[in-house]
Amino acid sequence: MWFVRIDMTNRSAAVSEAPAKYKYLAGRAMTSTLVADEVPPLCHPLGPSNKLVFAGGITTGTPAPTSARISVGAKSPLTGGIKEANAGSSWAADLAVMQIQALVVEGQPAEKGKYWGAYITYDGKPKVEFFDATEYTGKVLPEVFPKIYEKFGDKISICSIGTAGEFGYGNSGVVFNDLAKRPTRYSGRGGLGAVMGSKGLKFLVLNRENAPGVHIEDKALFDEGRKKMIDALRTHAITKPKGALNSYGTAVLINIMNEAGGLPTRNFSSGRFEGAPKIAGEAIFETNKERLGKELYNHACSPGCIIQCSNTYHKVDGSEHTSCIEYESDWSLGANCGIDNLDHVAELNALCNAYGLDTIETGVTIGVAMEAGVIPFGDGEAAIKLVHEIGKGTPQGRILGAGTETAGKVYGVKRVPTVKGQAMPAYEPRAVKGIGITYATSTMGADHTAGYTIAPEILGVMGKQDPLSNEGKAALSRAFQATTAFIDSCGHCLFIAFAILDIASGYQGMIDECNGVLGTKWTADDILKYGAEVLKKERAFNEAAGIPKEADRMPEFMLKEPLPPHNQVFDIPESALDSVYGEL
């Protein structure tokens, strides 16, 4: 396995054997360990000491289903703490088959305003060449990606940033290509696009030709695990073909969160949105059917995915408007802004993808701007104009691009739904207490994927728990956070959890696959320990970066303002929040 280090100070690259001490690290475990080991916790996130680290998971690049995930890590400009943001793309598989365990981008060029691309090929070992990419900056990504395919051919995979990353926004993602070569798959959260931009790096282009593939230590065990995983994904009602995810996409959650009174609406002022059915996954499906004259099922975001939950949304004339309207984006740009027009939501989504923005941070920031009276709630056209301002870097656009917390301060808003500087996702903590504990305590800032207790609290996956009860929720969040840290390292998409938390053989399949690749003999206990170790490293980095346990708190308005329809506040005691990591 290789370590590829790109130093942008002088545009040099070093390819070396991966250090033995990192042998079993992949995905989030790899990126977070490297950031913890090599990035000074007190450095400026956009300065020369920060490092941007890319790593595929343990099974990435193998025939394991739904495993083409990439972890991107650095110190976050948004939270000031450690960040891992995860995406599905052929780019992940290509990095893995080139046997690159970690790709590290470090340093910073002295010259301002010039951008570069790195083109990585394989010839006995990975090889890096640089090209001037300045001509591709200041443009929208759908214009730029085809030019890079034209330059390097169809077989490549592309990682890039939009203008959001070039402007250094706290709201800026790192984007990867999807299977239709669109710039749509985002490691969106935490401003990692700005870290890449701060290094003068516009592209990381991979060409997998002649790559040796992933070495699998015990092929028989791996295949056994892979079969168990496939069986679980193909039989579980949520993940199976033409099941909920494949038919309606992740936005199928809009209606259920609304029905449960936990769909944050108009900047987290209600748990119910009267326009929910108009923007839900079912509405996307029906609108496409009407406009295309046929049913359209979803597609895979990355090679080898058998869940296939990514949608495309079509205009009245049948042409493609955007891909993919995820639940989080649909909610943040829709319900959270009081917008019930699906065409407006689609346009906002398309603009986030075009400018390189995180849809969650964008929608929540606009919600705060609406609260401040900048534009009215529900005004989709005005919201579209604001996103153009962000993407073009106007003075107001720069304030909004800095993220929800900064925008809240600038506009004097007290209802600012963030933890550790990161905007909250699409589940209202006053109506679903366990996910609130995850938001409050995660090393990532408010992040639903860090410990998705929604599975038992709302969806009835892994049993059914009362979302309004506080009972046992700290332990539930802790267990989910540790398991997730492993899943984020194993290469699989987090959505395998729906199947494997209900189907025990699927869970064992994941462990077998990993043992097969690495030649380890891990048990279910071992993988929880592995996940917990990742969390401990991240937590230690945050503490050294000046983020104490007192940062594991909800914004004050959630403790004081009862949220309709349940009229509850977030009432998890501070001692319970502290126990999540205190008892890890």
Partner: protein
């Protein structure tokens, strides 16, 4: 008694409008349970996974009251 009902996702085909999330009224005899409602609507029980009464998930033996709002879902997930 009258119950306001919404059916979602693949269960929408059993709603009078065929539309997901559109409210329709059902008249049931006093003392009916959530399970009785599902039986009345002739929903295939293996497709029914999650059922909310007035924004709270309830089991099938839950007794309904006049004016209750019920939302019924098949197994769904996302994130």
């Amino acid at each position: 008694m009258k119950i306001d009902v919404r059916l979602y996702a693949t269960l929408a085909r059993f709603a009078p409008s065929g539309s997901s999330g559109r409210t329709f009224e059902v008249e049931l005899s006093e003392g009916s349970t959530l399970g009785d409602l599902i039986h009345f609507l002739q929903l295939p029980i293996d497709e029914v996974k999650l059922h909310f009464v007035n924004a709270v998930h309830q089991e099938l033996d839950f007794p309904l009251q006049n004016g209750d709002e019920v939302g019924i879902f098949p197994p769904i997930g996302g994130g």
